[in-house]
Assembly symmetry: C2
Homo-oligomer: 424 residues x 2
């Protein structure tokens, strides 16, 4: 960042204030398990939003909520000459998966708020506005990455009306109960160029930074994602009266697939992952040989072509197993989600900021989905990772050291200041 007249590193975030905010927010929706229960548009989410509005007001910042519930925070003290320019956005989300952790989302929001507060209170003069953003329903209570999807491509009325929450509630009804409307939700899609650039600070949710003893991950891109169900069909028979050699036991084929999947992934690349998170056998009685076995497959790879090879490998090994056991196999796979490479220019700014702060960093892909993959389709976008202790996420044990929180927030600060000062 040494190229700028005033080194960005001369400004740092107030770690004590950031941690204090963090400790307050994590109490809202806290469960007896120690995890968070804060689904989008739930009472706990509403309480978290009210708390956030209060923190913004305390800092003298201006808040706007768009038609689908995304929140944008601005400094009212901005130079009128630049107020109309496309802003730099920094943000993440504050909703959580059921029994989720306190860091996934809130870290990026509160660090962005702290960045904006520092810029605002120091009166830093920039060439375009910086805004702190909360994307609604990142965790997909109603739809995966709801708020950023609405910004990047929009929804139809039919799509909004068909959305159902984890508790079986209709999105349109719950949204109306918190003051939202379908009409407003339809109108939030951003025009091209409306946002200059976006940056998201997030926990890694995996173990690599910790294992490498690095403080900063410069996200190279969000991996391609495929998924679906493999179903083996055999024959349900009596567990007591059918000799082993005469069985067509679908569960054994499913077992063989589970055992084979790690080698299928390894054959594609070191970064390829395949997971079977749900296994269901029918009829599902302890004394009946399973006539069918369903195995979900979630497979991810940074490269789109390699993802295709991964899917082909899963199909090939499943067919081979079915043939070996004399069963049939069926596949029901969805259309894969394309990989989202992060902006090269912003990656360079993030890694320079890390170096400027004396932090060890490396480039790594994000195996998880983020709002940044939507924002990357309409604006140059970057992501900063900080280490997750033990790689844990989406659970009460999710944790990140305060030193890493502070480092990540400072790299975010340097990055947004750089982006708001210079053309990319």
């Amino acid at each position: 960042m040494g190229q700028t007249g005033e080194s960005a590193s001369s400004l740092s975030i107030n770690a004590e204030r950031l941690i204090s905010d963090f400790e307050e927010l994590r109490q809202i929706g806290r469960l007896p398990t120690g995890g968070l229960g804060r689904a989008s548009f739930s009472p706990a989410d509403g309480e978290a939003r009210e708390w956030f509005f209060g923190r913004c007001a305390d800092a003298g910042l201006t808040v706007r909520t768009d038609g689908i519930g995304n929140i944008m925070v601005s400094s009212p003290a901005i130079d009128p000459a630049i107020a109309g320019l496309a802003p730099v956005w920094a943000g993440s989300h504050i909703d959580a998966v059921p029994n989720g952790g306190a860091f996934d989302g809130p870290l990026g929001v509160l660090a962005a708020l702290e960045c904006l507060r520092r810029i605002h209170e120091e009166g830093i003069q920039l060439e375009r506005p910086v805004q702190c953003v909360i994307y609604a329903d990142e965790e997909g209570n109603y739809s995966h990455l709801l708020g950023s999807s609405a910004l990047a491509r929009g929804f139809t009325r039919e799509e909004l009306e068909s959305m159902t929450g984890r508790d079986g509630d209709q999105f349109v009804e719950t949204f109306a109960a918190v003051g939202g409307s379908v009409e407003d939700a339809l109108g939030v899609t951003l025009a091209p160029g409306a946002v200059h650039a976006t940056v998201e600070l997030h926990i890694e949710q995996g173990p690599l930074l910790e294992q490498r003893n690095e403080q900063i991950g410069v996200v190279s891109g969000i991996v391609a994602l495929g998924g679906g169900v493999v179903t083996f069909l055999g024959r349900a028979d009596h567990a007591g009266t059918t000799p082993m050699r005469l069985r067509k036991d679908a569960s054994i084929a499913a077992g063989a697939l589970l055992v084979a999947l790690p080698a299928v992934a390894a054959a594609v690349s070191e970064r390829a992952v395949v997971t079977s998170g749900i296994i269901a056998v029918e009829p599902g009685a302890s004394n009946v040989i399973p006539g069918s076995a369903q195995v979900t497959v979630d497979f991810r790879e940074p490269d789109a072509e390699a993802l295709e090879a991964l899917e082909a490998g899963i199909i090939r090994v499943s067919e081979s197993i079915a043939a070996e056991y004399g069963l049939t196999v069926e596949f029901d796979f969805g259309v894969p989600i394309a990989p989202s490479p992060m902006d090269e220019g912003i990656r360079a700014i993030i890694s320079a900021a890390a170096e400027g702060r004396g932090l060890a960093w490396s480039a790594l892909p994000s195996g998880a989905g983020h709002d940044s993959q939507n924002m990357a389709t309409i604006a140059p976008t970057g992501m900063i990772f900080v280490p997750s202790i033990g790689g844990r996420s989406h659970c009460p044990e999710e944790n990140t050291a305060w030193a890493d929180v502070e480092n990540g927030a400072n790299v975010l600060l340097d990055t947004v200041i750089h982006l708001a000062r210079r053309s990319l």
Copy 2:
């Protein structure tokens, strides 16, 4: 049977009448699937009992229902000199598993009724009474082999009061609604010597007789049965952010166990069977690596010692798999059910009857449980199997050729006449 003055084979069952009864009974509780919905003490079961009482009355036979709902049918024309002697029982059950088949149970009941009718209408003079028996709730809506368990060993009041049906109803309430009482149910246990011998005709429920092209199976015994749950414990992690080499995926260990079980059974004997009918992984989301995986094991073997070896083999291979994948494993196994050998003398009578009728037969174990395993603890007991088409059972496709039904009923007739004429 040539040793008796009058060859038993000179008397045969009336196949047309037996099949007509069978076709009438199978309509009661018939589901749109073609399967039977006739749980014990359900309205359909009550309707089937009423129909059965009508058929007995038509034949001039006398019916008694005991305190737990077992039914005993006698001929009123019996010689008063032998009426007080311990009877020979032939019977089975008329209740069905959910969406069950029409042959499992009813075949043995209707064939026994037909045997008694023939003896009664021909005025055959025997040395002790023959009775046709329906055992209540063989399929365990409330308790596995309820009626014969009550006869052989009895229940405590607490046991009866704690029984719950598949629909969540209390046994004592449902039983009271059909006119039963706990007091009466407590008093049905048989005194030693109360029954002279019992015989049960049943479908094989497996494919062996069909494959061997044999008409009669002489059951050597009901196999020993063990069962329980194997639980692998790993670590739940994010499916996208956890590299393959750093996972502790419980589902892969479960898969390895499923694949290994056939070899575990084969190492014990050709007759050993192991089945995993229920598989459950937690937390059970497509994008979360399973942290735990539960696999039920149902394992059976004709020999008690071999069953112990089978259980030990399952434990050994599970521990080896857990060690290989760096997981832990837990076992929750019940106390095994001991094998029930059938009476040697009755086995010889059944095989002689099959030969007398010119039928191909062989000895084979029953992999399924039957009321005969309870009756074998209080009286010499035998079982006759007839072929199941395709080995199917407990499903709408359950079927047996009419010729095999007729053969089985005639072998049952010869056997009960022999048992009622001679001492064992």
